[in-house]
Assembly symmetry: C2
Homo-oligomer: 209 residues x 2
């Protein structure tokens, strides 16, 4: 298997954390895509993912899978023990719901704010900024952090009792805060404690290097 | 099981199509949520889904599942034959990837255009319109229809050889065009033919009534 990505970006980090959690990091070959130079828009990469987004998982038969959720879902099922995405239909649903909420309301919201209402990647790359919309998205991200803090007051992980794909998405969301010059509000004690706990997981330490 | 929804809206349609495809439509009780009157923002509903979006699936034990993908994933697994979401890890990945792409680039894009750059649901409800962003999203939806038309030139359904959750999402995207006063471009012959074929499926006919 190959992973086409840029290791510093948040969505690649999600897949790298999943790979490390599953003990698969040394089973894949990483291929660097220089997103900051626009390499993801060139025909070679667009043939692998028409949406022109990293990461992409390429299977040994040449099949290309993009979008983080299906990539992680696929990797999680390889050992027959899908700890990250859920082992029963109900567990899958709870994790899938929390994951999608964290994606839309936290991770993607911070990314949208970064690209639209901050200097982002610079004026050469940020040609379609929309400040008002970016600021709306920032407010959604802040509200999501407050809601997550409340949830973490009565469960240890984002989707329930165990670490899952939803934690990975939320962790990537907080990782993006740095790019956007935002912080986890220090009064959100549950969120701060969860963040420290997740950041200390050996797989997360390895993937974030 | 109960489904809280508003039957005319696109995301509820997705779940209703899935229920009909799986022969489950008469196994659930539908509870009407008057979204146009803001009922989804009231505490009773927000307790079921803090994101304040329909639909919500409530299981008999009171567990509430929101977000269409995990709802459909759950329903699809009840009979042990997940035809809509994939029966192997690779099938799951291909369907999950196509579904997410259709969601972001077609369905959600048309919805965003409708709410931001058309009169939408009227000035009482559309208090945060952003015309420039809405128009960007319209252009993304139009590009997605062209891309899907090309894809449907070499496969019968959105994610491959069989009807899946990805077709449901794309169909809901085209359903939204009416609200936004957009059309399927008539030159997109493959897309037009696929749309007619999907619209004629008995389950889709039943769910769209």
């Amino acid at each position: 298997m190959k992973i086409y990505d840029h290791p510093a970006l948040p969505n690649p980090k999600r897949v790298r954390i999943a790979l490390a959690e599953k003990g698969l990091a040394d089973k894949v070959e990483f291929v660097f895509v220089d997103v900051l130079k626009g390499e993801h828009r060139l025909p070679d990469f667009a043939a692998k993912n028409p949406s022109q987004l990293v990461p992409v998982l390429e299977l040994d038969d040449g099949t290309c899978i993009s979008e983080c959720t299906p990539i992680i879902d696929y990797l999680d099922q390889l050992d027959g023990n899908p700890t990250l995405t859920g082992r029963t239909p109900k567990e899958r649903a709870m994790i899938g719901m929390a994951q999608r909420r964290m994606e839309r309301e936290l991770l993607d919201a911070v990314v949208d704010y970064f690209h639209n209402a901050t200097p982002g990647l610079g004026s050469d790359l940020e040609t379609q900024q929309n400040k008002a919309w970016g600021e709306t998205r920032r407010d959604i991200a802040v509200a999501a952090m407050h809601a997550l803090d409340r949830d973490l007051g009565h469960r240890p992980y984002v989707a329930g009792d165990t670490f899952s794909m939803a934690d990975i998405t939320a962790f990537a969301g907080l990782y993006c805060l740095g790019f956007a010059k935002m912080d986890v509000p220090s009064e959100l004690k549950n969120l701060v404690a969860w963040h420290e706990r997740v950041a200390a997981r050996p797989a997360v330490v390895a993937a974030m290097q």
